[in-house]
Every structure is written in structure tokens, then in C-alpha cells.
Amino acid sequence: MIKIKNLEKIYRTEDVETVALNKLSLSVAEGEFVAIMGPSGCGKSTLLNILGLLDDPDSGSFLFNGIEVADFNERKRADLRKRNIGFVFQSFNLIDELTVFENVELPLIYLGARPSERKQRVEEVLDKMQIMHRRNHYPQQLSGGQQQRVAVARAVVNNPKLILADEPTGNLDSSNGNEVMQMLTDLNEQGTTVVMVTHSEHDARYSHRIVRMLDGQTVLENIMV
């Protein structure tokens, strides 16, 4: 599903150059659950952003489902993103002014789905995430675990092929964290590819494969059994 080769990303300020990704290559197969680990500043998040088409590489190749996307413009990337990729963040990133239902509905709106279809789909997902009873609440009225469940619901509402999770349990206690990890595992078992950045060895053990990064390069891969 994902094939990147010699990917480079350099952040430049006036007098400092920071190499975030240094000729990195990586492949993720369809249906795989990959955890990316490494110390702060090793380039994990940059990689995830590029995988999520939120950022573009300076050089190298990025094939998404066999299509070269490294040189896509913003409009094309947004289009590809909304059809194929779901995001889960450490800090949930829900819109405070929208209710649970409306937050989850958002990706479907940008996909241009009909209201009836949206309602049905959102309710299905909320039900699945066991958060249906909170559908008319605002994010601030929910606990951290509930907010992350809403975020996961939003990530999967448009049936993405790929879920990118950036430290999804970072702001949660262990029991809520485990719940979220279970959700991601369930989604993966149903066929969704998951790429997750984490600092937690415990969370990483839910994955099929752990990619360890240092200084913008992959240094080690552990296959989980």
C-alpha cells in the first residue's frame, strides 16, 4: 500500500538546517499494523505527516497504492486524503464548537455525502465505538477516553484504507489507552492498514511490526509474533 524510497525532508531556518528524514525507505503492506518508535526528534512525526499527505518531502519517491504522490499539489493531496486516510492524534483534535455527532460527520461533509447517508454512517460508527449516548455533547463535556473514541470514530467514518495514529494514547490513562489500542487492533483485523507513532513499548506490542528510527533513518525492524 505504501512504498517510500530515499525520502528526504530538511527543515531550514535562517542559519540552521535540520535533517528530519535522511533518505528513508519503508514499505507498508495492505492490512498491516506498523508501529514507528524512536527518540524525540528522530523524524517519526515528519514521516507520519508525509504519509498522511499533510506535508511534502523534499526528494524521494512516495507511492500510495501504486500512485506517485510525492509531487501532488495541495488540492490533489486533500482529495486523496479525504478518501483514503483517517487520523488519530494524541490531543484528540476535536472541534470544540461542534457536537460529537457533528465532529464525526465532518469528513463525510467534505466527501459530499448526502445528509441521510451521513446520519446513517455516523450513527453506525458511534454505535460501534460505544459513544452513541454522547452524540449531542460537546467535546469539553467528555472524558479524555471518550474524546479519543470520538476521534477514532471520526477517523474511520469514511472507511479509510489507512489510519495514521500519532501517539493515540499519549494523553490517556492506561485503561482508556488499552481501550483505544483495542479499537485500532479491531479496525486492523477488519482490514484497515494502521501506522502508529508511539513512545510506548506496550502499545507497540499491539502491532505486527515495529520500525525503529534514529536521525531520520530506520535503524531496526522488529517483527512481532
Partner: protein, 786 residues
């Protein structure tokens, strides 16, 4: 999608009440000011536009050299109209409109004093004042016919049909109503409530065929496709062709489309006029609206960090930039719509006061679909202008950065916002300086010595039987102790009705065309008016019966006539030989802003229309007027007692400037208010931006005062820059304005200092609130948010 945007927009409005109130009220006030000014401008430019034949209608003007200048004026000989029709083939019709005249209308027991005009019978065919009843071609054919407005008809006859009814004017002549006019619109120079036929003027002996008597307005309607250039070329020599004397000077016709806004002449050519005010007001409207929009942008971008996360999330879930731009523009259009509705309410509430201020009858025509289209367009445009910067700014956020929390509003953003604040304050300071200069000029002119004593002085027109019974009324007023002195004059002492460059005296240079004001009085005028006698004596007909041909000169006249010993000199005017009996100090007859003209006050042989009464200061004005009224009623029972206080009439000379002053002050106040809202937003933004710095400084021991100073200092710089930009612009503009007044103040340095100080104090007050708030925050809290 739209529903989602609206939902977000409304929830944002409600969640951030303070922000919404500041933003909407600022925009609403800006829009309301702009609407009021636009209504005013619309009224000004629509003057006379309703006349069907407006493109063919012209007014006759004169041009001639006197008092050393090429002057232009629009009163013409009465003979001109028929001459034009007869001998100038370009002219289809000519219409004369005589001075406004007040008559006493009597219908049954009803008595009303009404102002109107005597006009040529073709008036209603040339001008489009529609008749509800009657035939415009024949309504003014008969000498005893009269056309009245609906409003007057209602006052005279209630709901009865006025057509064919007979009414009496000045207790003398009867007239039959032959036409009922629709009330005059508020955008015409004509102000009549009745029209009488010119033949009546002839009947009362006031028509004449003299080319030397410029005493009526003459309007001409050209034939379709006639050349006005050709006509004007011929009119240059019309006086030489027809006049026996007074052959000098040219005539020309001036198009209707330019009457209202352009008819100010200097050296015989158009120079400024009301159009300057229209342009100035237009600029002010645009600026106030722009400032309100700038504010909106400032406040919206100041809140950008709050909205940044939302933008990031929307982008992550697939929103293209265009959708986000659409969303934010949509939000600002929604705000503009709410502000627009509020603005209309503000306009509706403030229109009566604004109308009083501008002396107009403006209104919003809700029935006109074009106004609705315009209003919606106006709101849409305001919303788009106000929302465009925040929309493009917010939608360009990088989702990666904002969601990671590493987003910090860029420092680069502060520069354009600073420019916006400088712009706002420059405009505010220009208006403050303008207000101060106008006020200074008014008080300067007001303090000018009038040259007579306005206190306890009243005048009354010699209406009805007052002329006949004048001596009786005067004696009773004096005997009853109501008045200490009474005089008859040619005009109210606050108005100049007559002037001439044709006075003759011994030793006059034949080329001398000095224009003299002409005033007439019977006797005791020095005592009644309180003139300051420099030489000689007052008129005294009892002791000196020849005083009916005596004159008083003012000091300027003595100088202009070059008299070493003025008393006893002889002066010829209107075929009479006058002898000088006294010299008075110059007094202000007309504008307090102009140099005082030479003046000749002629004795009782002159034409006397007005009675001036110096009330007895030993008694209360109220009791004096009560007794005076009973005396007037006794000798002039049909007419109302309509006196005027000279001091009040004198104060009216300042009305225009006072109005300008109030309007400038009003706009200055509004601009400052709206600008302060913007400054408040910027201060909040800057404080938020430097929250970490403030925390660190406090941890290191900085006091609240030092931090407040640190934060306020930047804004002071902006206001000082604004002051530097505004001062020369305001200085130049006000210098130009002051040139309109020969008697004027100088531009003083303190005006600029005062304007600067007030702008700075207002800015400090606004900013320090935010600065102190930021400085007082617990540093631990600030640092933790990092």
C-alpha cells in the same frame, strides 16, 4: 456544508460574546455612519433630477467687474425673460420666479402667513411640479388665480376639495384656487407653498422693464437640440444690445444639473461649491467603513490562534483551501448581515437627529427594490472586504503545525496590523484637528465685534396695516415703557438686501466700481441699534425735517469715498441727493467671516419694510413682549405678532459652520471609538503573543508597572507615527478650508499638540487595560501554557 458553516459561525458568535459584541457593534456603527452619509449624498446629487426637461433647463446669470473682481450672480432684470423668448431662437420658454414672499392667507376665520412665489404662467410647464388637480397650462393664466400645495390646502380647507375656492391675501385681493400641487420633494431649491401669476406683480406695480434692476430669477428652457454654447456667445453682448444704461457685464445661462453642487464662482468661473462637501463626506464615509472593516480584520486575526486548531482539523479531514476561505468569508458576511440589520436600526433611530443637524428630510425608502439590492450588495461587499484578510490568513495555516501545537502567530503578521492601526489613528487625528480648527474659527468669528448692540433688540416686518399705523404703534410702544427706541429700516439689521456700485460723490473716479451696502432707516437708528457714532449725529426728523434725505456713512465708506471731512458731503443715489450727517463704526450686516464693506445708511426717503424695537431693559422681556403683542394686535389685528430676536438671528450666521463643526466632531468621535476597538483587539493579540516573555520577565523580578510600560510603549510609537502622518494632511486641508473665510484664525501649533495628546491619552487608556491585565497574570500560569 453551508449548514455546518452557519452552525459553527453562530456557535462562535455565542461562545465569544465579548468579541462578537465588539466586532458587530464596530461594524454596525461604521455601516450606520456610512449609510447616513450616503443618504445625505444621495439627496445632494438628486437635486432637481426629477424635472422631466432637466437637460434643457438653465438659469440666467450675470457676470461683471466690480470691487476689483469679476463677480457672478443670478438675479436678473425682469425684462430678460420676454427678451430671450422673442429674440433668441435657442430659447423655447423663459420663466421668472420672483422673491419668496410671505402673504397673510385668510379663509373664513383662519389666518395663516405663507411663503411662496410669483411666477410666469408657464412655470408648471417648464418645471415638473405635478398638479393633482388643475391644468398646468392654464392654472396661472388668470391674475386672480392661485396654485397651492396639498399641505397648504389641508391647513386651509381640511379635507375639503380646495379647487375653485376663494381665499384672500393680505386682506386685499381675492384669489381662486386653480391648481392643487403635490407637495414639493426635499431635493429642490424651490420652497413655495403657493404660486401666484406674474400678472399680479404687474397689477401691484412691482414689474418694470429696467435693465439696471436685477430683481428676479430667470429660468430658460432651450429648444430640443439647441446649442447652449451658441446662446451663451450671444448673451455676452445682451446688455449692450438692449440696456440704456448699465451696459457693462455679460450674461450666460447655467445648466440645471450644476445648480446645486457647482454654482460657486470665482473670477467668473466655477470654483468649488457644495460638491466639495459631497466629496469630503464621501471620503469620510469610505474611511469610516474602511476603519470598521480594518477593525474586523484585526479582531478576527487576533483570534486566529483559537481558530487555528479548527482549520487544522478541517484540513486533515479533507477540506480544500477554497472551502475554508468560503467558510470564513461566509462567517464575516453573516456578521456583516447582523451588523447591517443593526446599522439600519441605528440609522432609523438617529435619522431625526441627523436630519436636524443637516437641515434635511432624509429617509430610507423601504419600498424601493433598488435600495434593497444596494443594501444587500453593500453588506456582501463589506463582509467580503472585512473577511477577506482573515479568510486567506486563517485558511493558509499548515495543519501539521497547528495540530502539533507548534503554531505561533507569525511576527510578520504584526507589521500589517500595525499599519492598519496607524491608518486608523491618522484618520482619527485628522478629524480631531479638523474639529478643533472649525471650533476655533467659529469662536473667533463669534467674538468679533458686531458693531451694534444685539441685546433686547427685536424686529418685526411691516406687514398688513403696520406700515400705515407705524407712528401709532411706535408711540404706544414708547409710552407704555415697552421700548426705549423704535426705528423703521429697509431690512433686518442681520441681513443685507441691497447694494450698489452706482453711488456718486464729488471727486469719484469714474472707473471706481466699489460696491457699497445700502441700508435705510427713518430715525434714531443709532440709538435703536446701538451703533457707535464716530462723528456727527443720528437721524432726527423732528429737529431736522431734511433728514429724510440724510445719510450716515460707515468708516469704510468714508475711506472708500476718500472724504477728509465727511459731514455735509453730498452723495447721489437712485436719483436722490443725500447729505451726510454722521459717521458710524463699521458693523456686521451680513457674514461675520468677511471684511466689512463700505455702507451707506440712507434716511427715511428709502424703502422701509422692517420695524426694529429696542426693548426696555428695565422690564422683563416676557412682559415687554406681552404688551407689545397687544399693541400690534390693536393696530394690525389680522396679522400674527411675528417678532424675531436680533441676537438669535445673528447666531444663525454661524449655523453652517456650527453644523460642519458638529459633524466633524461626530465623525471624529465615531472614528476614535471604532479605532479604539481595533486597538483593543491588537493589544490583546500582542499581549497574548508575548505571554511567555511576560512570564519570564516576571519570574526575573519585573514589576507590573514596568511590564505595562513595556507593552504600552509600542502602541505609543504607532500613535506618534499616526500623528506625524496626520498633521501635515490635516494642516493642509484646514488651511484650504480657512481660505474660504477672509476673517479667520491662523493654524495654531496647540491644535496639533492638543489633537496628539488626546489621541495618545485615548490610546493609552485602551491599551493599558490589556497591558495591566497581562502584567498581573500569574507567571507560572503563563509559562505552563508553553
Amino acid at each position: 456544508m453551508l449548514k455546518n458553516y452557519l452552525k459553527i459561525a453562530f456557535r462562535n458568535l455565542l461562545r465569544n460574546k465579548a468579541f462578537s459584541i465588539i466586532n458587530i457593534s464596530g461594524l454596525a456603527i461604521g455601516m450606520a455612519s456610512a449609510i447616513l452619509i450616503l443618504l445625505w449624498i444621495q439627496n445632494e446629487v438628486s437635486y432637481e433630477q426629477f424635472h422631466e426637461k432637466k437637460d434643457r433647463i438653465y438659469e440666467a446669470w450675470n457676470k461683471a467687474h466690480f470691487s476689483g473682481k469679476l463677480q457672478a450672480w443670478n438675479t436678473t432684470p425682469k425684462i430678460l425673460a420676454r427678451t430671450l423668448e422673442k429674440d433668441y431662437p435657442e430659447v423655447e420658454q423663459a420663466v421668472r420666479v420672483y422673491w419668496d414672499h410671505v402673504y397673510l392667507f385668510s379663509v373664513g376665520d383662519k389666518r395663516l402667513t405663507v411663503s411662496g412665489n410669483m411666477v410666469d404662467s408657464n412655470f408648471l410647464q417648464v418645471f415638473s411640479f405635478p398638479l393633482i388637480k388643475g391644468n398646468p397650462k392654464t392654472a396661472l393664466m388668470d391674475m386672480h388665480s392661485i396654485v397651492i400645495t396639498e399641505k397648504l390646502a389641508k391647513k386651509l380647507y381640511g379635507d375639503e376639495d380646495p379647487m375653485g375656492k376663494v381665499l384672500k391675501l393680505d386682506n386685499k385681493d381675492n384669489f381662486q384656487v386653480t391648481g392643487l400641487l403635490k407637495d414639493l420633494p426635499n431635493n429642490t431649491r424651490f420652497k413655495f407653498e403657493y404660486l401666484l401669476p406674474w400678472s399680479y406683480l404687474r397689477y401691484v406695480g412691482e414689474d418694470d422693464a429696467s435693465w439696471g434692476n436685477n430683481s428676479t430669477r430667470t429660468y430658460v428652457m432651450l429648444k430640443p437640440n439647441a446649442s447652449v454654447v451658441a446662446l451663451n456667445t450671444k448673451l455676452k453682448t445682451i446688455r449692450q444690445r438692449y440696456a440704456d444704461s448699465d451696459k457693462e457685464g455679460e450674461m450666460f445661462v447655467y445648466p440645471m444639473s450644476r445648480w446645486r453642487l457647482y454654482s460657486s464662482f470665482k473670477e467668473g468661473v466655477e470654483d468649488g461649491g457644495r460638491i466639495e462637501f459631497v466629496r469630503l463626506f464621501g471620503i469620510i464615509a469610505v474611511f469610516i467603513l474602511l476603519i470598521a472593516c480594518i477593525n474586523f480584520m484585526n479582531l478576527s486575526t487576533a483570534r486566529s490562534e483559537k481558530r487555528a486548531k479548527e482549520v487544522g482539523i478541517r484540513k486533515v479531514v479533507g477540506a480544500p483551501k477554497s472551502a475554508l476561505v468560503g467558510q470564513f468569508i461566509g462567517e464575516s458576511v453573516l456578521l456583516a448581515l447582523i451588523a447591517g440589520i443593526l446599522a439600519v436600526l441605528i440609522v432609523q433611530v438617529s435619522l431625526p437627529a441627523f436630519n436636524k443637524l443637516t437641515d434635511k428630510e432624509l429617509f430610507i425608502d423601504y419600498g424601493n427594490y433598488r435600495n434593497w439590492v444596494f443594501a444587500l450588495g453593500f453588506i456582501l461587499l463589506t463582509g467580503i472586504i472585512a473577511g477577506s484578510y482573515p479568510a486567506f490568513f486563517l485558511s493558509s495555516f499548515q495543519p501539521v503545525k497547528v495540530l502539533k501545537g507548534i503554531f505561533r502567530s507569525s511576527k510578520a503578521l504584526i507589521a500589517p496590523r500595525k499599519i492598519l492601526v496607524v491608518l486608523q489613528f491618522s484618520f482619527a487625528i485628522i478629524l480631531i484637528i479638523g474639529t478643533l480648527v472649525v471650533k476655533h474659527q467659529i469662536s473667533y468669528a463669534r467674538e468679533r465685534e458686531a458693531g451694534y448692540d444685539k441685546n433686547n433688540l427685536v424686529y418685526h416686518m411691516l406687514s398688513g396695516d403696520l406700515g400705515k399705523n407705524y407712528e401709532l404703534v411706535k408711540n404706544e410702544l414708547l409710552n407704555a415703557g415697552v421700548a426705549t427706541s423704535v426705528s423703521k429700516t429697509s431690512a433686518p439689521i442681520t441681513q443685507g438686501w441691497s447694494d450698489s456700485w452706482d453711488f456718486q460723490w464729488a471727486g469719484k473716479d469714474p472707473n471706481d466700481k466699489t460696491d457699497f451696502d445700502r441700508f435705510s432707516a427713518d430715525q434714531n437708528i443709532v440709538k435703536t441699534a446701538g451703533f457707535q457714532l464716530v462723528k456727527g449725529r443720528d437721524f432726527d426728523l423732528k429737529q431736522f425735517p431734511t433728514d429724510s434725505t440724510a445719510v450716515l456713512l460707515n468708516e469704510s465708506a468714508v475711506k472708500a469715498m476718500n472724504f477728509k471731512e465727511p459731514i455735509g458731503q453730498l452723495i447721489k443715489d437712485i436719483g436722490v441727493e443725500w447729505h451726510v450727517v454722521g459717521v458710524i463704526k463699521d458693523f456686521i450686516l451680513q457674514s461675520p467671516y468677511y471684511p466689512l464693506k463700505p455702507m451707506v445708511v440712507e434716511g427715511a426717503r428709502g424703502w422701509l419694510n422692517v420695524m426694529h424695537i429696542k426693548l426696555n431693559p428695565a422690564k422683563s422681556t416676557e412682559s415687554n413682549l406681552k404688551v407689545a403683542e397687544s399693541i400690534f394686535k390693536k393696530y394690525n389685528p389680522e396679522y400674527p405678532f411675528e417678532y424675531k430676536f436680533v441676537d438669535e438671528e445673528y447666531a444663525r450666521k454661524f449655523d453652517d459652520e456650527k453644523r460642519t463643526g458638529i459633524l466633524t466632531a461626530l465623525f471624529a468621535g465615531l472614528t476614535i471609538f471604532i479605532s479604539c476597538l481595533g486597538l483593543f483587539g491588537l493589544a490583546a493579540y500582542m499581549a497574548q503573543n508575548r505571554i511567555k516573555e511576560i512570564g519570564v520577565r516576571k519570574v526575573l523580578g519585573a514589576s507590573v508597572t514596568s511590564i505595562t510600560t513595556l507593552l504600552s510603549k509600542d502602541f505609543l510609537k504607532l500613535v506618534i507615527i499616526a500623528l506625524l502622518i496626520a498633521s501635515p494632511i490635516a494642516g493642509f486641508t484646514m488651511y484650504k478650508w480657512l481660505q474660504n473665510y477672509p476673517y479667520r484664525v491662523n493654524l495654531e501649533w496647540w491644535v496639533f499638540v492638543l489633537a496628539g495628546m488626546s489621541a495618545i491619552s485615548i490610546a493609552i487608556l485602551t491599551v493599558s487595560f490589556q497591558a495591566i491585565k497581562a502584567a498581573m497574570t500569574n507567571p507560572v500560569k503563563n509559562l505552563r501554557t508553553e
